[in-house]
């Protein structure tokens, strides 16, 4: 009894819990309950098209099936490769855009707003635009590539298993580079301009000043931007769904799209839930590792 906190403190703690309880309840209901239900579902056979199988509990059976499913392996590979290609592109281009916007003196607001436009366009609309631009015979970009002699006259971007990725990656880079740029611009604004002036006085060339002063100080913003983009890219769904539908064959099918097909087309709720859980785990593990490895080192450096 004596080792516990004083009665008043205990009352306050209780009051605090009471006050927080509604918010906690809502978080549990809205965020955790669906994940828990999906997780529970993923441990069962639940196939709307095969009602005679019932809904028996099969433990990790669905996950074992996924491990042996070549389409799942390919989808996992597609998802990770997409993230590893598109995110670095977005970071490099976003950085260049941020530096340009930072150095502009006149018309700042206008330039910033117009740079953000692609980010404001709904993804499905952006996806359709890019799809049309690459369509054989009618697409503008497809026509340019043909006129430049880079592809043959009968070439169809959506029939080639690797070329079909080009519109998807292009759309993603086009759409999310402004978002990265704005995050990095905010980072640039926090850097004391005196540092740059001092470097100039000491005779450092602009490239040197950028590499040794700006970039290191911008790292926290870069880490955050990369985390946001990776988490988004690992959940890739809408661009692939609209632009290629996952084809040709399943050459551009990411995990989320495969999970959607298993759930909504095949109506295999158990297996589809297991696939959804793997998408969740993939992003969750990435976030955990990223925050631990980079986030901690960054805060450590600062203090």
């Amino acid at each position: 009894m004596n080792r516990g906190p004083a009665p008043i403190e205990r009352d306050e703690t209780r009051l605090a819990w009471l006050l927080v309880a509604p918010a906690l309840g809502i978080i549990l209901l809205v965020a955790l309950a669906p994940i828990a239900v999906t997780g529970w579902e993923s441990l069962h056979v639940h196939d709307l098209r095969l009602p005679w199988l019932g809904t028996p509990f099969i433990g990790a059976g669905n996950f074992v099936e996924a491990a042996g499913d070549p389409r799942f392996g390919a989808a996992l590979l597609h998802t990770v490769a997409f993230a590893l290609i598109s995110v670095p592109l977005e970071l490099v281009l976003g950085l260049a855009l941020a530096v340009m916007m930072h150095s502009v003196v006149r018309g700042r607001a206008f330039i910033r707003v117009s740079a953000l436009l692609p980010w404001a366009i709904p993804t499905v609309v952006a996806a359709l635009l890019w799809r049309f631009m690459f369509e054989a015979r009618t697409g503008i970009l497809a026509g340019w590539f043909q006129a430049l002699g880079l592809v043959g006259p009968a070439f169809d971007w959506f029939v080639h298993p690797l070329a079909a990725w080009v519109p998807i990656i292009a759309a993603d880079v086009w759409k999310t580079t402004p978002f990265v740029a704005i995050l990095l611009l905010a980072g640039l604004e926090t850097i004391d301009p005196a540092l740059g002036e001092a470097a100039q006085v000491d005779g450092a060339k602009p490239a040197r000043a950028f590499l040794t002063i700006t970039l290191p100080l911008l790292t926290p913003a870069l880490v955050v931007a990369a985390a946001f983009r990776m988490l988004d890219a690992l959940r890739l769904f809408d661009l692939a769904y609209v632009i290629t539908g996952g084809g040709p064959g399943t050459a551009t099918e990411p995990l989320s799209l495969y999970a959607f097909i298993a759930l909504m087309q095949r109506l295999r709720f158990g297996y589809g839930s297991a696939l959804s859980v793997t998408v969740f785990l993939l992003t969750f593990v990435f976030a955990l590792v990223w925050v631990r490895a980079l986030g901690r080192s960054l805060t450590g450096d600062r203090s």
Partner: protein
């Protein structure tokens, strides 16, 4: 989550219906396509039925026109044991699935007279010997050909290839042949016709997977060659569905087109079509060891197993599938009736835009898709593998071997393997 929500709503609606105030009228619910001319015909005919049967109120429950969405909705309703709709318009490829799940009633107890119906359409309505639906209208794959470029339809697959190659090389058309090559159900129907032309199949009558047999491999080889070697089929066709295929043919870009009857009327519209009055139809010709083929589609009417008024529901089904209603449907919606005797009548000849003798020839070649409760999944496996083969990601033989392996695993999981324990 959306599914769960819909389920909840449907269950709630079901209770509301069951516990609502009773009146003397009996209510029947019919659900199916209700867009455009199809909707006009249905509304007209349902009203006529209600006139004949005082005290019966028939409601039309509109469902999405997209087949996938309608299927998903039906599955959710029936899983939730909803009593309505009483009568369902089912695609031919869903029949076995709904029958095996126990969602629709076997109709043999009502002693339906079905001698007149096309055998292929009836085969699609049967599951384990019992009849679960009455064919309502049929759709068949047609080989459209240009009468200004050719004197007659090709009699064999070899001839079809030669004609397409010759005319394309003479620059008479941009492409030789166009078909629906996108990764979807339409691709499977094209493959099915090639399969039949080479004497192959997807499942044998006992339900065994035979899609990796030599005949099937020859069929897929033929398709892949047409795209990648002969180049009579443009690679872009591997992203096309019915409408893109029709546009290409309508612009005069192809000698042959494989499409459904709906395209006929549109092709004859001189303000939009460059091939008006220069088109005829035929069945897809036979290759070595096979027969002429036309993939069979269309709709059947079935009765919800939980319907409160099955006898009355069957009465409505009989009414809608009577010759008189079918001719009206042919006239207003250009949909083909599944009753063979109608094809001998002047009434149907006057009602249908496509010349009757050409249609009759195609209907005789009709091939159903496999009757299995897991057809949609089988088809999806095939779609992916065929598309991989046609886009050069896999050789046809390897693609079909993989498809067959995946299909056998699916049948085993579903408890439907002919070798394994019976379901």
């Amino acid at each position: 989550m959306r599914g769960v929500l819909t389920l909840g709503l449907v269950v709630a609606a079901g209770y509301a219906l069951a516990c609502g105030p009773r009146d003397t009228t009996t209510r029947l619910t019919f659900s199916g396509s209700a867009l455009g001319p199809e909707g006009d015909v249905v509304r007209r005919q349902l009203a006529r039925f209600a006139e004949r049967r005082p005290g019966v109120r028939v409601e039309l429950q509109v469902t999405p026109d997209s087949a996938d969405q309608r299927h998903q909705l039906y599955v959710q309703w029936l899983n939730a044991r909803a009593q309505a709709p009483d009568i369902l318009q089912l695609d031919v490829i869903w029949m076995s699935e709904f029958a095996a799940a126990g969602w629709i009633l076997p109709l043999d107890a009502f002693k339906p007279g079905v001698e007149d119906f096309l055998p292929a359409a009836l085969a699609a309505a049967r599951w384990k010997g019992a009849l679960y639906g009455i064919p309502w209208f049929v759709d068949v794959g047609l080989l459209y050909w240009r009468t200004d470029l050719l004197d007659r339809a090709p009699r064999s697959l070899v001839e079809l290839r030669e004609m397409a190659l010759r005319l394309r090389e003479a620059n008479a058309t941009r492409f030789g042949m166009v078909w629906t090559g996108a990764r979807y159900e339409g691709l499977v129907t094209v493959f099915l016709e090639h399969l039949a032309a080479f004497g192959g199949g997807i499942l044998d009558p006992s339900g065994r997977v035979i899609v990796d047999d030599p005949a099937a491999i020859r069929a897929l080889d033929f398709m892949a060659n047409a795209v990648n070697v002969d180049r009579v089929v443009p690679p872009a066709a591997l992203t096309w569905q019915e409408e893109q295929v029709r546009f290409a043919f309508q612009n005069g870009d192809a000698v042959f087109m494989r499409n459904w009857p709906y395209a006929w009327t549109l092709l004859q519209d001189e303000s939009r079509s460059r091939v008006a009055r220069r088109v005829a139809v035929a069945p897809f010709p036979a290759g070595e060891g096979g027969r002429p083929a036309a993939a069979l589609g269309g709709a059947q009417l079935a009765i919800n197993a939980r319907s409160a008024n099955p006898a009355l529901a069957f009465e409505l089904v009989s009414f809608l599938t009577a010759p008189e209603q079918m001719v009206e449907r042919a006239r207003l919606a250009a949909q083909l009736p599944p009753r063979r005797s109608l094809y001998e009548t002047a009434e149907l000849a006057a009602a249908l835009p496509i010349p009757l003798d050409q249609v009759r020839q195609v209907l005789e070649a009709a091939v159903p898709r496999p009757a299995t409760p897991v057809y949609s999944e089988l088809s999806e496996i095939l779609q992916v593998r065929i598309h991989r083969a046609l886009t050069g990601q896999q050789l046809p033989a390897a693609a079909l071997q993989d498809a067959a392996r995946e299909m056998r695993a699916l049948l085993a999981r579903a408890g439907l393997s002919p070798e394994g324990p019976a379901q």
